[in-house]
Every structure is written in C-alpha cells, then in structure tokens.
C-alpha cells in the first residue's frame, strides 16, 4: 500500500472522482452564481449583463443589511451557547449516574428533521392554543404575546428552537473530545490536590481547544447561512422582522423573480462566510498546541 501511495499518478487517480464531483456540484455553481449576479435575469428569459449594478444596489439595500444583522445576531447567540454545551458535556463526561441517558436525551432533537422541529415549535408558540401561552396564562400572565407575530420578539422566539436543534450535535462533539483526554492526567491532577473546577479549566479545556475552535467556525458559519426553520416557521415575517440572509436570497430569487439580484445576495453571503471563517481562525490561533502526555 505504501508503494501505491508514493506513486503520484495513483494519488491523482484516487483524488480525481471526488474532485470532479465537488467541482461539478460546488465550485462551478459558485462561479456561475457570481456571474449571474452580474446580470439582470428573471430566471426564465434572456440575461442582460449589467456589470456591478446588483452588487451596488445590494450595498445600499436596507432590507439586506437588516437581514444580515439578524444573521449576525444568530451567529453571536450560537457562539455563546457553545459555552453552555461545553459545560453540559463536561458534566456528562464525568461518569455520573444516568449521564448515558441524558446524553441520549440531548441528542434526540438532532435526529428530527428541521421541518418536524418547525411544526413542533409552531404548535408550542401558537398564540391561543400553544403550550407556551397556555402555561403563561395558567401562572397568571394576563395577555401573553403572540410570539411569532410580534416583530420585536419573533427573532428570539426563533433562536430558541434553532439553538435547541443543534445542542445535541455540539454536546456530542465535546463529549467525544473530553472522553479522549486520558484519565491518567485527571487522576494525577487529583493526587496533586486539584479540585473539579481546576481540572476542568486547566486540563480539560486546553486539551479540547482544537475541537472548540472547529465548533466555533461551524456554529458561526452555520448561523450565517441559516435558512430552514425560519423559512417554515415565519417565512421571514412579520414585516421582515425575522428575515435572514439566506431567506432574503430565496425571496428575491424565487418570489420576486429577480435571479440576478438573488445570486448577488448569495455570492455576498459566501464572501461574508469566508471572511467570518478567516477572522475566527486568526483570532483563535495559538502558537503551539498543548500536549500533556
């Protein structure tokens, strides 16, 4: 096998199929999207080249920037929620009684499809028969809000199921990372008199750092291009109060029949995601990875 792997031609041959595939379904469409963004096109008739008109219109488009703001807010919340997930994962990995059961409970939302989750939360948030408002009324709140119809509340009402949806995923990743830390390190620290907090902060956290960095990128980029629950639950409404970049792109392309502009939004979204990834990598760079063993 070593012999095969040292042959450059063989390597090329192995890489080729997946390279072709990824070119055809990812990179070529990206380039095309960028190109469509330079055209005025309703998706059906002939394209008309308009240069950077769509992009300059995009930069001045208040609706786009407010949707970008919503996406960014979601990214911030997802990144912050990672702290919570890490704590949960630490507790679960501490070989407590029943932690196995809890691990499964946290993982369940991840097994449901987005649309099912959306339907579930639509019922929970229903203004008159929903569990949420029935509960609030039963504890004496006179006029509980209609969660998904209130422009000031709708975004936060949507964040809850979105964060809940991915909790299991991140907890599982952290759990695996923490389980990978040799128990001998923890035992040695215990003998030296370290308490649980010190073990978590000085041993577990640094050793899981590489994984944490990856999850930050995943969470931020995932939030910036988030679409599904919002599309099903509010469709960006009311009055665009829950519009995010991806749903704005969809509305421009498929509702307003402006594929040129929609493509420009899509391409811009890609650029924003790339910049975000780059910034996060820069900010979290460490000189050398910590190795205790």
């Amino acid at each position: 096998m070593d012999k095969v792997m040292s042959n450059k031609k063989m390597i090329a041959l192995y890489v080729l199929p997946s390279l072709l595939l990824i070119m055809a379904v990812v990179y070529i469409p990206i380039v095309l999207t960028g190109y469509y963004g330079l055209n005025e096109w309703n998706g059906i008739g002939a394209m008309k080249f308009v240069g950077l008109d769509n992009y300059s219109a995009l930069i001045q488009d208040d609706n786009f920037w407010s949707s970008a703001g919503h996406s960014l807010l979601l990214a911030v919340f997802s990144a912050l929620s990672l702290i919570l997930y890490l704590i949960v994962a630490m507790v679960l990995s501490a070989r407590l009684k029943g932690s196995n059961l809890f691990r499964k409970i946290y993982l369940i939302p991840m097994l449901l499809s987005s649309v099912a989750i959306a339907q579930l939360w639509l019922k929970i948030y229903h203004p008159t028969n929903g569990i949420m408002n029935s509960f609030l009324e039963s504890i004496g709140v006179a006029n509980p809000p209609a969660w998904l119809a209130e422009p000031s509340l709708v975004l936060f009402a949507l964040f809850i199921p979105i964060l809940w949806q991915y909790a299991g995923f991140y907890i599982l990743i952290y759990y695996a990372a923490l389980k990978n830390i040799p128990t001998s390190l923890e035992e040695a620290a215990k003998i030296d008199g370290a308490n649980a907090f010190q073990i978590a902060y000085k041993i577990k956290l640094p050793l899981a750092m590489e994984v944490i960095k990856v999850t930050i990128v995943l969470a931020v980029v995932g939030s910036l291009k988030y679409f599904d629950l919002i599309y099903v639950m509010t469709d960006g409404g009311p009055n665009g109060a829950s519009e995010v970049m991806a749903s704005y792109m969809y509305h421009q392309a498929f509702r307003a029949y402006d594929f040129g502009y929609g493509s420009a939004v899509g391409f811009f979204l890609l650029v924003i995601c790339l910049i975000a990834t780059w910034i996060i990598r820069k900010m979290t760079v460490t000189k050398d990875t910590i190795q205790y063993s």
């Binding site: 095969v4 063989m10 059906i44 229903h126 119809a149």
Partner: protein, 444 residues
C-alpha cells in the same frame, strides 16, 4: 504487484460507476426526449405519442381533483389509444419552483398548470408557452365564463386555458351569529358592530392567516373596492392611478382600525392560512374571508364534521356609506389554467389533450370536487349543495370581478404589495407610506 493491479481495477470500476451514476439522470432525460421526438417524427406510421403533463393536485392534498385528473386521463387514453399521458404531480409551492427550474433549462413538460397575468408574463416573454388561440377558437368557443380567458392573454394572444373560477365571500358561522343575536351585516357600520359584539364576548371575530400575506391582501382589496370603487382600485394596480387616492388611503386606514378593534384572531401575522382556517373550523373564530375553492370543505368533504359544515353560511362584503363600490363587486378571478410548451415535440397532441381536459374538467369538477369551473356549466339538472348553488348564482350576477392583486401585478411588484400588506396589518407602516411604496413598485 498484485495489489497495485487490484487497486487500479478497483479505481477504474469506481470511476466508471460514478460517471454512470452522475449521468444517470441526464441519460434518462435524453431517452425521454428521444422517445417523444421519435413519437413526433413517426407520427404518420405508428402514431405512438407520449404527452408529459405536470400538475399540482397530489392525492393527499386535493383528493377530489386528483381523482378527476386520473379519470380524464384514463378516458382520453381509452379514446386515443396511440397517446400516453405521463403525469408528474407536485405540491403547490414545489410546483412553482420546479416550473422555474425547468424553464431555465428549457425543459418544460408538454402540458402544465400555470396562474394568470403576472405569473404568466415572464414565461410568455421568455417564449416558453405557445398561444392556444386556435383551441379557444375551436370547439371551446363561447364555452368559457366571460372575463376568464382574458386574464391569460398577453398582447392579444391567449397563452393558457383556465380551469377554475373563484370569488371570495365572507364565510361565517351561523351558530355563533345566532348565539349573540347577530344579523348578517349589509353595511360596513353594521359589520363593525358585529365585530365589536363578538370581540366583547371573547369570540375572535375574523380568522386571518396573514403569514401568507395574500390573505390580508383580500381584505385590503375589498376595503379599497368598497371605498374607492372597482375602477380606481383596478387602475391603481395597473399603475394608471396613484394609490395615494383619497379613498384608497381611507381603505388602508380602515384596515388598521379593524386591527385596533381586535377584529382578527390573535397573532394573525404569524399564522398561516391553514392555521387560520382551523380556527374557523374549530369554531373559535366567527368569520373567514376566502375563495370559493374552500367550498368542498363546507359542503362535501367528509373529513370535516357534518355539524360544522351545516353551520357555514356566507355574505357579501358589506358596502360602505358614501363609498363608491357596490355590493355585487367581487374580488376573485380564474385560478389555474393549462398551458402548452412552445418547444413541445408533440404540440398538436398536447393541444388536443388540453381541449379535452378543459371540457371534461368543467363537467366533472362541479360534482366531483365541488369547485366552480371556468367553463359554463348547466347546474340546473345536477343535485348540488345549496351553498354551492347560491355562490354560483352570485357569481353570475357579479357587477365586476377584480383579479387578485398579487396575481395581477408582475412578480416584483406583487412581492412589494404582499410585504406592505403584512406591514400594514402589523401597523409597521402608515397608510401614506403604504401608498407610496405601492406606487413606486407598480411604476417599476
């Protein structure tokens, strides 16, 4: 050495498999096209033809319509043994998306379903639909209800033949009205009184799912019609008059005062039309403004309890004192119609099928699905639910029928209109801003 050889073989197989898989889809399409091309070319000999038909009545959602479609296709195939109709069925929203994608790659089905006016426009401009005036001038001449085919015409040519025709009455729950001693309102003042009584008694007066936005558009359109008159509204939508017209502004203001009066169910801007409908069918809301496509649900649909169906009545949108609209003016219009693709290889067969389909649909949809067809039907000989007959007669007496604004406007303007509707109901815009945004969008 063996290992290397083995891996090369494996690799090649894998490559081939992937290429084959990747092309699989295309290969099929190619075969299909070829099939129909052959069919067209060999017409004079064997006359084996396949007509691809894409529609939006899946069995689960529109059971009645689906049954009729299959019935018609079977009959047609029995009468024309050389023709095979191949169906592709999708749900409403998915259908719209797929039609767009197919037209971008110029692969439309031979026959498909389309909406009128603004929806149709880009397809006609893109030269994707073929005119069906020859079909219209043939046996179907004079069979359509007046004003239906016009909605599918661009520059004097008709590009699709309508199947359904709808108007939108206000359905109400007779039992709730009786309980609070309410009369069916004739004037808008009486209507407001009804709303107030219901609201004071803790019953949601009106079910409205304004997440979908076109639902709120119906309310605005009626309000505009009754205040400003059909002509002014119609002109404003076409861009020939301004939405800042005094009476149109009054209509927008009145919509907001209805919202203030708690006329609509709680959280209406976050509810879908389906959710709102269930408020009405669960008797939590007393009124529901919706198209006649809902008729089967109040008459024949066995999934909805008989006791409830018996309670549903309807009334016309009340007139406004001093307003220019009259009570027999409706908001509505043709629903979906059938088009034939411009680049279809079997155009003649497709047109023949469309002609057959439209005729049969008219006869069967009345009894089978309980919807109102776009073709003239003699209902006197048929035994039909009273609600259906009443609405059918109302439609024949209509003084005018204004086509749904979001269908009438080009897609871009329609999107602005719908967003503005949601904002108007949510009180995020003033009537002034509402009017200005409309003028700007329509002028574009």
């Amino acid at each position: 050495m063996f290992k290397k050889k083995w891996s090369i073989t494996l690799m090649t197989t894998l490559c081939l498999a992937m290429v084959a898989a990747g092309c699989g889809n295309n290969g099929n399409n190619g075969a299909n096209n070829e099939g129909s091309a052959n069919g067209g070319a060999a017409e004079s000999d064997s006359k084996k033809v396949t007509v691809n038909f894409m529609h939006l009545w899946p069995e689960g959602v529109s059971a009645g319509q689906n049954k009729i479609v299959n019935q018609i296709i079977n009959d047609y195939q029995a009468e024309h043994t050389n023709v095979t109709i191949k169906q592709e069925v999708l749900d409403n929203e998915q259908y719209k998306n797929k039609l767009k994608v197919l037209s971008a790659s110029n692969q439309l089905p031979d026959v498909g379903v389309t909406w009128a006016a603004g929806f149709l426009q880009p397809y006609v401009e893109g030269n994707l639909f073929t005119p069906v005036d020859d079909v219209l001038g043939g046996e179907l001449n004079g069979k359509f209800v007046a004003g239906t085919t016009e909605a599918y015409a661009v520059d004097g040519k008709t590009y699709a033949l309508p199947l359904e025709f709808n108007i939108a009455p206000i359905y109400y729950n007779k039992a709730i009205f009786e309980k609070y001693n309410l009369e069916v309102p004739q004037t808008y003042d009486q209507f407001k009184q009804v709303v107030k009584t219901l609201s004071d008694n803790g019953v949601a007066p009106i079910a409205l799912g304004n997440k979908d936005r076109w639902t709120g558009s119906l309310w605005y359109m009626y309000m505009a019609d009754r205040f400003a008159g059909q002509e002014t509204l119609s002109k404003a939508i076409k861009g020939e008059a301004s939405f800042t017209d005094e009476n149109l502004m009054k209509a927008a203001t009145e919509v907001q005062s209805l919202v203030d009066g708690n006329a609509f169910v709680k959280g209406f801007n976050g509810l879908s039309n389906e959710e709102a409908k269930s408020e009405f069918t669960n008797e939590k809301a007393a009124m529901y403004l919706m198209g006649t496509w809902e008729l089967p649900n109040w008459t024949t649909n066995a999934d909805i309890p008989q006791e409830f169906r018996d309670k549903v009545g309807f009334f016309k949108f009340p007139t406004v004192e001093g307003g220019k609209g009259d009570i027999n003016s409706w908001v509505g219009g043709p629903g979906v119609g059938l088009f034939v693709a411009e680049n279809s290889k079997v155009k003649a067969e497709a047109k023949a099928f469309v002609e057959y389909f439209v005729t049969k649909w008219g006869e069967q949809s009345v009894t089978g699905a309980g919807v109102i067809p776009a073709t003239k039907v003699d209902t006197s000989a048929l035994e039909l639910p009273q609600l259906y007959i009443d609405l059918f007669n109302e439609m024949n007496q209509a003084s005018s029928i204004t086509l749904f604004a979001d269908v009438q406007m080009p897609a871009n303007a329609a999107e602005t209109h719908l967003n503005m509707i949601q904002s108007l109901f949510g009180k995020a815009v003033t009537p002034e801003k509402f009017a200005q945004e409309h003028d700007a969008a329509v002028a574009k």
